[in-house]
Assembly symmetry: C2
Homo-oligomer: 173 residues x 2
Amino acid sequence: MARKQTTLAVVEDAALDVESRVTDDNHASLKLWLRMLSCTTMIETEIRSRLRREFGITLPRFDLMAQLDRHPQGLRMGDLSKRLMVTGGNVTGIVNLLEQEGLVARDAVPGDGRAFSVKLTPAGRRAFKRMATAHEGWVEELMSALSTTERTALMELLSTMKRGLNAPEQVQD
Amino acid sequence: MARKQTTLAVVEDAALDVESRVTDDNHASLKLWLRMLSCTTMIETEIRSRLRREFGITLPRFDLMAQLDRHPQGLRMGDLSKRLMVTGGNVTGIVNLLEQEGLVARDAVPGDGRAFSVKLTPAGRRAFKRMATAHEGWVEELMSALSTTERTALMELLSTMKRGLNAPEQVQD
C-alpha cells in the first residue's frame, strides 16, 4: 500500500504541475488532453505495480498473454509485434521467457518452413485466466468514483473521440 | 500521411480486437478502460510521430523540456526523474544530448558541491516555444470530433475519476 500511494503521489504531482500552466480558457483542449493522459497513466501505473506485486509479471508479458488468449489458434511473431506495438526483439525475449516457464508453445506454420506461431499452453491459459480476473477487479475498483451513468457517458464521449481519430479527414469537414 | 494512417490503423486494429472480447454488460468497466487506453495511445502515438517528423525530437526529450519550461529556476536531476517517471540514467542521457545542442545548461546547486540543477538556455526556451505551439494545435485537431460541450463534459468526468484515484480509501465509503 505504501508503494501504491507513493506511485500515485508522484504521478499526481507531475500532473498537477502540468495543469498549473494551462489556466487560460484558450488552452481547454490541451488541459483536457493532459487530464486524460494523467488519469490513464495513473491507472496504468497502478495496474503495472499490482501485476508485479501479486503475480510477479510485467505488463508487456501480461499484454502478450492477453493477445494469445484472444487468439487460441496462435499468432505469428510479426502479428504479435504489431498488436503490442513493440519491436520484434522484445517480443522474442518475452516469448522465450514464457516458453521456458511452460506458458506458451511454438508451432511451425504449415506451408512456411521458416515461420512459426505462438499459442498459450493449457497451463498458460489457466495462469492468464487467474490474472485476467484480478485485473478486471482492479479496473472496476479504479473506476469506482464514477457512477454507472457517468461511466456510460464517458464511454460515449470516448467513442466519439475514437471515431474522429479513425477518420481524421472527415473531422475537418 | 501514409505513416500516420498506418500507425493509427495498427492501434485501432489492436484496440478493436481487445474490445471484441468484452461484449457482456458485466465487463463495462473493463471495456471503458480499454477504450480510454486506446484513445490515449492513439493520440500519444500520433503526437510522438509528429514531434519526430516535424522537429526531429523524441517525446521524452519534449517532455523533459516541458518540465524545464515550467521551472525557469531549474530542476535537480532527481526531481526531473521523478516528474518524468523515467530512471536517472535516461534523464542523464537526454540532458547530455540537449546540453551538446546548447538547449539546456547545468548550474551547481549553492551549498551542495555535488548536486547541480538543469535549466533551459534562451535558445532552448525559444525551441520549446515553437514545439509547444505546434503541439497544442495538434491536440486541438485530434480532439476536434468533440464539441465544446462534449469536451467540458469529458473534463468533468475525468476530474471525478482523478479525484477517486487520488483518494482510493474514500472511494470505498
